[in-house]
Amino acid sequence: MPDFSLSPEQVSLVDLARKFARTVMAPQAAECDRTGRFPEEIYRKAFDAGLVNLNVPQEYGGSGLSLLDQCLIVEELAYACAGMTTSIIANCLALEPILLGGTVEQRERFLKPFCAKYQLASFCLTEPTGGSDAGALRTRATRDGSDYLLDGEKCFITNAPHASLYTVFATVDPSQRHRGITAFVVPRSTPGITPGPDEEKMGHRASSTSTIRFEQVRVPAENRLGAEGEGFALAMRTLDQTRTPIGALATGIAQAALDHAARYALQRRSFGRPIAEHQAIQIKLANMVQRVRAARLLTWQAAAAIDAGARGTLESSIAKCFASDTAMEVADEAIQTFGGYGYMKSYPVEKLLRDAKLTQIYEGANEIQRLVIARELLATYA
């Protein structure tokens, strides 16, 4: 019988994240959402508190948390602001390929100096011509002596203008499709790198998203992660790790929506009584809490399975897909519970819907998650 209770250590991690989320992030969330400001001072404070680089082992200067512990923290942060959380956890995504595919020497060389101070990193996979079909990416890596030259454009890259390190996926031979894809670690200081302007986004507006161009960017072969052609598998293994915290992020949004809706329902009166006494609203709340709790448990289950050594492709895809659909549904019902006020920007729930939407798209769109889930499922019957 699994034990769903948190250890005292996990409780203290949740307390830390909750305090940070509610005292540092939440007070700025509405302003950043309105203006699209990138609150670097908050990300710096998150670094000082040890809330960035959660997945990097302590020997390299990170926090060295299990995936489950990462999820506990991410849910708390996202409860206060999903956009800030996306920018905070982008480092985990960008550094994971170095953890999974880097040699000991590469991990020492890249992670130690990187984690020693506040810095951001970006994971550069998606391209303007396609994200879901990563095997078709076009950014070229051309061998030149002991170096490679990178040429191409990436898009929708979180934190790109603010990052000092990039993990870049490029192809040494497009005709080989995913078997040509190769991963590189590229410092921002390398000539030829141009991030684009911030995109104007529907949600996650405290996060920064932009294109980034690589023109004749010279990268030494010792910055290549694994062998040529191993980049696609490395990207997929990375996403197997980082998808589950997206489930936690979505759960945080959903929990916030539920809390707002339930509190409002107790206060708002119609036809002489609080709307919480109308059965239609009760049924909404009852459905919302079921989904939120199921999303959390699926997320914990995926994280626990991966922590125990499983690859977890199926579990993490289920968690990410279910939790992000839950965030959308619960945020939608929260707005409905608020009625007209829910549609107003001066109330907090419409932001939750806009933030929830992204969780169905990034780190593998939910259509792709469902393809993966079905493939993994059917394989168990074949």
Binding site: P8, E9, S12, L13, L16, F20, G50, L51, S63, G64
Partner: protein, 262 residues
């Protein structure tokens, strides 16, 4: 020198206390206990003093039951205290502040005493008795309501007491027990790596019954009832179509019913 900071687990700020089934105390079921309020300030002050004088160490000391007492001591370690000591005692022992002070005194007498800092009062019981009773039992000076606590050049401490319409500044040698109103800084928050590290640090444990002359059932006082204040009645919501109408009704009520307007 070692600074001892006295801390006590208290219910989290958002907790709604309910009377227990026997009506004598509040129900601890599901209540989350934390390091909070004046105690957080006391820990912050102890750490500031440590940082301002090399060679200073800080020991957190708490009396109470598992698991909450261990948890607040770990919080104190995560914030930067060097050592933690736990006097294991049943929750009931906390209801008798003089008994608590006696046990703390018995514990502290085992070693030379330096500076002892406590919060002015605990957030849950608010009696404020412990620091002063402890000072009396140890036979050392004791002060409550202290701010601006610093090391003096003479090796003791200086501090202020803010009274209703004046501020007093004092200097004292150590040992001394201070009931702290406020630290110079807002309490810091623990960093994640220090939280992880604090889980692995040892905590010194002593059972209250093993302290000289102490027995958990020694309490001389007993609380026989715990009640929540009855909800206030008589509130009135003034309806009206326009602000003018509401204001007019309000003025009429204040004049004719409350008799606070001529």
């Amino acid at each position: 020198m070692e600074v001892v900071v006295l801390i006590k687990p208290v219910p989290e700020a958002e907790t709604r206390l309910r009377p227990s089934a026997d009506g004598r105390r509040w129900d601890e079921e599901g209540v989350k206990f934390v390091l909070a309020g004046y105690d957080e300030s006391a820990v912050e002050q102890a750490l500031l003093l440590k940082e301002s004088a090399p060679g200073t160490t800080v020991r957190a000391l708490s009396l109470g039951p598992a698991p909450r007492t261990e948890e607040v001591l770990r919080s104190a370690l995560a914030l930067g205290c060097d050592r933690a000591s736990w006097i294991e005692a049943p929750a009931e022992a906390l209801g008798d502040p003089v008994g608590v002070a006696r046990a703390l005194a018995a514990f502290l007498r085992r070693e030379p005493i330096g500076l002892v800092i406590a919060g002015k009062q605990s957030l849950d019981e608010e009696s404020g008795v412990v620091p002063l009773a402890l000072a009396a039992m140890l036979g050392v000076p004791g002060f409550g309501g202290v701010t601006n606590l610093r090391w003096s050049t003479a090796g003791g401490v200086t501090f202020d007491r803010v009274l209703a319409d004046s501020v007093e500044s004092w200097e004292s040698s150590v040992p001394i027990v201070i009931g702290l109103q406020q630290a110079w800084n807002d309490p810091r928050t623990a960093k994640l790596p220090n939280i992880l590290k604090s889980r692995r640090l040892p905590i010194e444990r002593v059972a209250i019954g093993d302290l000289a002359g102490e027995h958990p059932s020694d309490a001389r006082i007993e609380r026989f009832r715990f009640q929540l204040p009855s909800p206030r009645t008589g509130a009135k919501i003034i309806d009206g179509q326009t602000p003018d109408e509401v204001a007019e009704k309000l003025v009429r009520l204040l004049r004719d019913e409350a008799h606070v307007l001529p």
